[in-house]
Amino acid sequence: MNESEGDKEFEPKILAFTCNWSSYSSADQAGVSRIGYPPNVQIIRVMCSGRVDPLFVVDAFLNGADGVLIAACHPNYCRYDSGNRYAKTRTKFLKMLMEEVGIEPARLRIEWISALEGRKFVEVIQEMVKELKELGPLLAENDGRKSV
């Protein structure tokens, strides 16, 4: 990654909600394997992707995130039975809402990533960084809104 001082290229900021039983461990695995990926992503751990309240996603966009990732267990493999299913439905409605208010729905992504899919985690982050670079920053600088 190019780290020269005074680099003006836009580096998108991604907030990732990872679930304790799968995707949080996949991010760990990506680190253990040292495959390396850009530091654009901040990770918040929840017990289940179903915990992700749409409010969190909205607040993320209002607080500097250019993109939000919800990384959940694969279908049929949610430790709490159906949390990932609810997360998917909520994501669907959030995207509709985002479109209404003029935020590109592509900024929000839900992915199924199991504990041993560190590579997939990295690939998803790399893809999102690329897409978000094209979409540009969400909020213009000096935007006053900072919380819900």
């Binding site: 949080y24 760990d28 680190g31 253990v32 530091p39 990770i43 289940c48 179903g50």
Partner: protein, 566 residues
Amino acid sequence: MREDNPNQVPRIGVFVCECGANIGNVVNIPEVVENAKKLPGVSFVERDVSLCSSAGVKHVKDAISKNGVDRVVFAACSIKNYGSLLEAACEAAGVNKYLISFANIREQCAWAHYGSPKGATRKAINLVGMAVARVQKSEPLKDLELEVEPSTLIIGGGISGMTAALCLANQGFRVFLVEKEPELGGMLNKLYKLYLTNQSVSEVLSPIIEGVTSHRNIKLFTSASLKEVEGHFGDFEITVSANGGIEKFRVGTIILATGAKVFEPSGMYGYGDKEGIVTQLELEQILKQEKLKRPGKVAMIQCVGARGEEGVPYCSRICCMVAVKNATLIKRLYPDCEVYIIYRDLQTYGKENEEYHAKARELGIRFIEYTPENRPEIIPNGNGKLRVRVYHALLGETLNVDSDLVVLSTPLIQHKGGEEISKMLKVPLGSDGFFREAYMEMQSVALGVNGIYVCGAAQGPKSIDESITQAYAAAAQAASPMLLKRVKIPAITAEVDEERCIGCQLCMDVCPFHAVIFEEGKSMIIEAVCRGCGNCAAGCPSRAISMKGFKDEQILAEVQAAFKGE
């Protein structure tokens, strides 16, 4: 436990682990420390070479005591590695473990972004900021300590139920065994001999029935039915109807051993219409009662009503071995008789089964493979025999086996009793109809509802030895909370603010564990049943549900601190 400063400004202690040089050679630790010191609520920040070592743990305890810290942040490796170790260290020093937060600056920072030290440092600074912001909103919580009655209810008196019953009774636990039939034994009562050893059922069954009926720790109810189950893990209130009356008692755990029934292939291969076509179970009865007349030819057809569109989609695991066993018994009885097993894929898995299968071939039992595209048929042949026409897939020839007896191997399926129990205990069945195990438990006896375990055919088709094994496993899982007479339920459970609750019951619909009850127009969450997923909180339209340990305020604090200063 230090709970004396609930309203005062929190004193947060931050420990930054260097993990040898592991973190420090990418992340600028002094910068992280300096920034951490400036965060509101932080009263001290310390570096440590290795928090997970015994020296490190001791240092943590000393530093907490010395600095009068009441909340802690660990900036170190993944919480998955030493989270519980560090939580225990903090509790020992008087800090409630729910007033701790972790910033993953190793696996998810230094190790991930080794090519970008500036970016990694910036990220680490924000990670610490997130953890500090989160812990400021945290509350001290107490894990729920449930008292567990050292007694168990076992539903079903077959081989699985009895095995679990005896095992627990021998360890000193009180066992209530409820069986719907007048006698114990379940499916085994209908069988003749058991494969691998070819021993008679009574050799296996009699000693265990004897043990169960004579054990002073076992209270047996036969011709009984379960009427109601209330309460939760540790304290279930059971109502049973037996002996013409009603009995009530309390237990700490429940083991389901309700077994399965054999699928009846009505209309398949002429079953029910023609004479001489029976299921393997019916054949067992015929053999047991010594009613088998010398047959010329016997044809057994496998996978009837299984592995396909008709019947059930799954393989029932034991039918191939049952067929091989019954074929062996017939061949031993009448060595001149020809026995054919018409199979799709022979499920003689493992070692002992393969050996048994090899012996069957040595006896002269013939095996014919068919494919699902070319199923065998029973066609009229005029001389009173049942003509089984089958395309032998390996020979490439159509064969006619003019049989005196056709035996259909059908799968085990869930029965009505099991379905009723599923509803009564609110324990889900899988798509195959059998009780669905909890995921991520690394084995098949734990169910999604705390304190309820399953074993035997109720969980899925299996052999006798597999049922016995699973019964022991269920006994082991039930025994540990009963041994301690208590169990800790993590405090990460949901809580309803009654004032905000509008009674929409969305939380009830969403909860897969039936942890939500509705009383007087408001939802209420049963802590002992709640598993802490947070789905209810995420979906509540009036923000009435708080997820302890993962409250909105805590998560939003992390969200808002994630990209601060960027």
